[in-house]
Symmetry: C2
Subunit: 380 residues, 2 copies
């Protein structure tokens, strides 16, 4: 399978004055413009969004039809924080079926207008009923993973802080990022404890935003006047919802399984990846994903970080966009935003945050505490 | 395109003691059993569900993975009340891509535990923000359509009451229906006014329930030991969300467009349809859909009803299951339930509610006030 990506759009992430409709429209119009096409050329549209509870609006496909003033086939997909990656995958399958030549994917979330206690409840509803009943929230679930990783592999709070530092540095170079503030290891270590060992600066924030891509069949790609990037491998896996079902809390089995499928489909190996966007909802998530994606052996991510290999100037820049941590995490948009960043890295248009070598890129989008994972591999 | 349907499952609709997980599991296990297969043979799973607000549970794909104790690719899709039909369509596309040979589709909604004012707010959120702001709910939006149809085509409250009578009669013969109570035209006319001219017995109710189907590629179908029915045409359209955008309130343009696509793909015409399940969220919806699906000319549905043509013994039985009106309308389950009924009609296993001739069947699943429509055409 080889699916063209011929256009990208991305709003600024952060607290926005725009409503959900306006966010979708801005990202879509940018994507169509960059693909040098118009909405009439799009055969099918996929929308990714976590929850109608944020905007008190379900039936988002019809909201988008109204915003775009078109009648099309529009589908909303959801699998918690992996909804964006899932929409990319479903659009790729639709094109692979031969029934559609072109697709638009829009990921969106409008979060900042919801009171914080409601936001906490909405987000927690992506965990298992058992975890919810015990008062567990995502920071506490990822904190358990971190504690176990610390115990088993001697990973430290400083290792995690390095991830925050790197991602804030990268976001500083990304005009569309939520945060433009460099942080030091000391800043992270001294920030407020959220769920030990995770501190405020280990956590991603609440953001508004939308991202969009225009996709097409391999045969159709040359007809677009933009430089196509190709999606060459997709892996998706859904695991049990509760982390109490995991044999080993230092691993996210869905990420491993999704990665294996994506590597198999693309014929690529971890060593072939030049640049990657990982799902750093918490710093520990980026570290565990590095291992489960095969970028290093289990327990060795901290070494890779210490050597600076995942920095922009390293041999495998991770989260050049700033990641969920510092670019922001408007949930439905995140998986699409990751693909937008990798497409731009592969096109060499990322300016100050451009990776030196960018022929093959990877995105890893995770839902909940890791039950869902979607891995995409892209190539020039 | 020709996609096999080789298994069906359906819980009793109504007020259930089961939670959302148990409902999904019961329908799934029945579907697997009727397909004489097991979950390991399923390549991909689609889940249809309107809103995480009912069950305070999003990330439903992972909930289902836990319930089934499997790690698979699981996708939730949503487009308001058309989510079930949409899941069937997306599963068909996945199989058509050649990437998957088999798919399970589960539609579910657990509604009866939510307080009625919350339910009203959740359902209203599938309308446009403008309509919500003006206090419009779905009964009032469909009432506007009815008023206009009455004015333009001299349709009457009695014509609508005949639809309620028929669907309650059919549901009386369906052991899985929510309501087992025959009603007379007089009962309907004397029931409480909800939004004039719609009365209580013109409206579908709040139900719990799940429905499931096992689907497979045409080549794979003979390997199942059950009698396959084939999905031969699919049409989907998303229109603007607000009915104020419609030129004529007596039509649902999305239904027309979806039907045209499904007829084109299947090579069938309205006259070829032997039995149909329509989206009678309100009696007026069944009447308008009859016209927009081409079963009769615009404005002539009342005549067709008066002649008894849509009754079980008529030439085109509509909603033999009892429809949303009397079988029940657990939203995410509805579109899947419609396909389950048509599959069983085509297999000739519907007992007392069996249509005399059932070679070609049609389902029409509608979202919101008609912005989304999915039409499926099935054949033996």
């Amino acid at each position: 399978m080889k699916i063209g990506i011929v256009g990208t759009g991305h709003t600024k992430f952060g607290k926005s004055e725009q409503n959900i409709e306006e966010l979708m429209l801005e990202a879509t119009n940018q994507a169509l413009l960059s693909a040098k096409t118009d909405i009439e050329k799009i055969d099918v549209i996929y929308v990714a969004n976590l929850s109608s509870s944020f905007s008190h609006q379900c039936h988002l496909p019809a909201v988008l039809a109204s915003a775009l003033r078109v009648n099309k086939e529009i589908i909303r997909v959801e699998s918690a924080c992996a909804s964006g990656g899932l929409a990319i995958k479903e659009a790729a399958i639709a094109i692979a079926s031969g029934l559609y030549k072109t697709a638009l994917v829009v990921g969106v979330e409008k979060m900042t207008e919801t009171p914080i206690d409601e936001t906490t409840a909405i987000l927690a509803s992506a965990a298992s009923q058992t975890e919810i009943r015990h008062g567990a929230t995502f920071p506490s679930l990822f904190a358990l993973m971190a504690q176990r990783h610390f115990y088993k592999y001697h990973t430290t709070e400083k290792d995690l802080a390095q991830i925050a530092l790197k991602n804030h540095h990268n976001a500083f170079l990304n005009p569309l990022a939520h945060f433009h503030k460099e942080v030091t290891v000391d800043d992270v270590l001294k920030s407020r404890v959220i769920a030990s060992p995770l501190k405020l600066l280990d956590c991603s924030a609440i953001s508004d935003g939308a991202a969009a891509v225009v996709m097409c069949s391999e045969e159709t790609a040359p007809y677009f006047k933009s430089e196509p990037i190709y999606l060459i491998g997709i892996g998706h896996n859904t695991d049990f919802i509760g982390i109490y079902d995991r044999e080993d809390l230092t691993q996210i089995p869905s990420v491993k399984k999704a990665a294996q499928k994506a590597y198999l489909m693309s014929g690529k190996f971890p060593k072939d990846i030049d640049v990657a966007e990982l799902h750093d909802c918490f710093t520990i998530a980026e570290l565990i994903e590095m291992e489960d994606l095969g970028f290093c052996d289990k327990g060795k991510a901290a070494e890779m970080i210490a050597k600076g290999e995942t920095q922009l100037v390293g041999k495998l820049p991770i989260n050049p966009s700033g990641g969920l941590k510092a670019k922001g995490h408007p949930i439905g948009a995140t998986g699409v935003s990751q693909v937008v960043e990798i497409v731009k890295q592969l096109q060499g248009t990322c300016g100050k945050r451009q990776a030196k070598k960018a022929d093959i890129g990877l995105t890893c989008n995770v839902g909940g505490s890791g039950a869902t994972a979607i891995v995409n591999i892209l190539s020039r």
